[in-house]
Symmetry: C2
């Protein structure tokens, strides 16, 4: 009866979390949820679907048309995505937020996930956010999510727990965890590139961090193989 | 520079709050935001627009298509709305939630309002929620909103304040406040009925509480006059 819902972007981190949840709660108790928010990189929804198929868990996609109506950010609009690793590393040292910051995106994702979970008797919510590496995003941090958890518990009168297994891991730790949990088959289909390119652009923040993580973990990124999946 | 944003449903309470904000922050610093979330009572968006016109503040409508995709509640689906006052009053005494409960609705509204405000340098968010009367909704309560405020501050790195001027008022207090703030002209165009009917159905929870409030305050509901507005 301990059911779990993974917020699945179709990327490396949330895919690792999906396997974490399967390991923790059992495959039959785990499902995944993705959001179609008019992201520039819609290809990640294909990844999320494929990853869920490989993991053999139920998967649904909920639409959110509000972010594109809000506008003003690089993930839904035609604003250039910063492609310099230095910029990304500066984020944690300054108060400047990256131009991929969609205000409140993770708060919204988790709140809608909670609403979806509430209707299905699911109390465990899993998110792949991490406060290490390139997360200049304040809604990915531990204290934010701790307050959000309490807000959701009170606001829906339901005893949710938000799990963030990657919160304090760096990208190479995540690679090792994914390997240990048997997530590498699914990893081959994940999508990371901020520019939504396939093959990945290789120079955006997300691509650079992913490459760095695999390199540091001394593992070959399985993503290299199945490009034909994305080409079809 | 103290700019304020009122989450305006087009109903009696949020309209009163709009005038509260004008009084508190000045008309030139106040704007209003409504949500088109495929509510059954879309007529309230017409009310919100008209109320903002009368109050002479800028007004915008943001779409949210997620609630109807989530389904399962009387405010967006074709489920009968409970029309018995007793049911409503029982809510505060039991753990049962009304079938108009959209899980997390106010959390989502305020989070999107915060994202909108963030982009415009607005730090004050005003919501017409109240924990008195018929609010069986846990996301209308003071402690929920206090945690949400902290979540938004942390999650967007921005010093928001959520104001809830009606939190501990009953409906007749709200009527008196509206009168004192000069909101009665606008009040004539507000929409309350949960069944989305115009003239109001008169027997849903919202209609009954509104009528009770005006009766207790010894005031005539100005809504009676301008039915022709809604007929056009």
């Amino acid at each position: 009866m301990n059911k779990a819902l993974v917020v699945l972007s179709g990327g490396q981190d949330s895919t690792t979390c999906l396997y974490w949840a399967i390991n923790e709660f059992g495959r039959e108790n785990t499902s995944s949820l993705s959001f179609d928010y008019d992201q520039r990189h819609k290809i990640e929804l294909e990844s999320a679907k494929k990853v869920s198929e490989i993991a053999a868990v139920a998967h649904e996609i909920l639409p959110i048309n509000t972010f594109s109506a809000l506008g003003g950010n690089a993930l839904t609009d035609n604003i250039d995505v910063a492609d310099d690793l230095t910029v990304a590393e500066e984020i944690n040292n300054t108060s400047q937020l990256p131009n991929t910051f969609v205000p409140g995106r993770n708060l919204i994702f988790l709140t809608f996930a909670a609403a979806y979970a509430y209707q299905r008797g699911i109390k465990h919510l899993i998110s792949g956010v991490a406060q290490t590496d390139y997360s200049g995003y304040p809604d990915c941090r531990e204290n934010t999510l701790s307050f959000l958890e309490q807000t959701l518990r009170l606001g829906m009168k339901y005893n949710f727990t938000i799990h963030t297994p990657l919160m304090n891991l760096n990208k190479s730790d995540t690679v090792m965890m994914a390997e240990k949990l048997g997530a590498m088959d699914a990893m081959a289909y994940t999508h990371t590139c901020y520019n939504g390119e396939q093959p990945p652009c290789g120079h955006c923040q997300a691509c650079l961090f992913r490459a760095k993580g695999f390199a540091k973990a001394n593992r070959v990124d399985p993503l290299i193989e199945p490009f034909q999946f994305f080409k079809n």
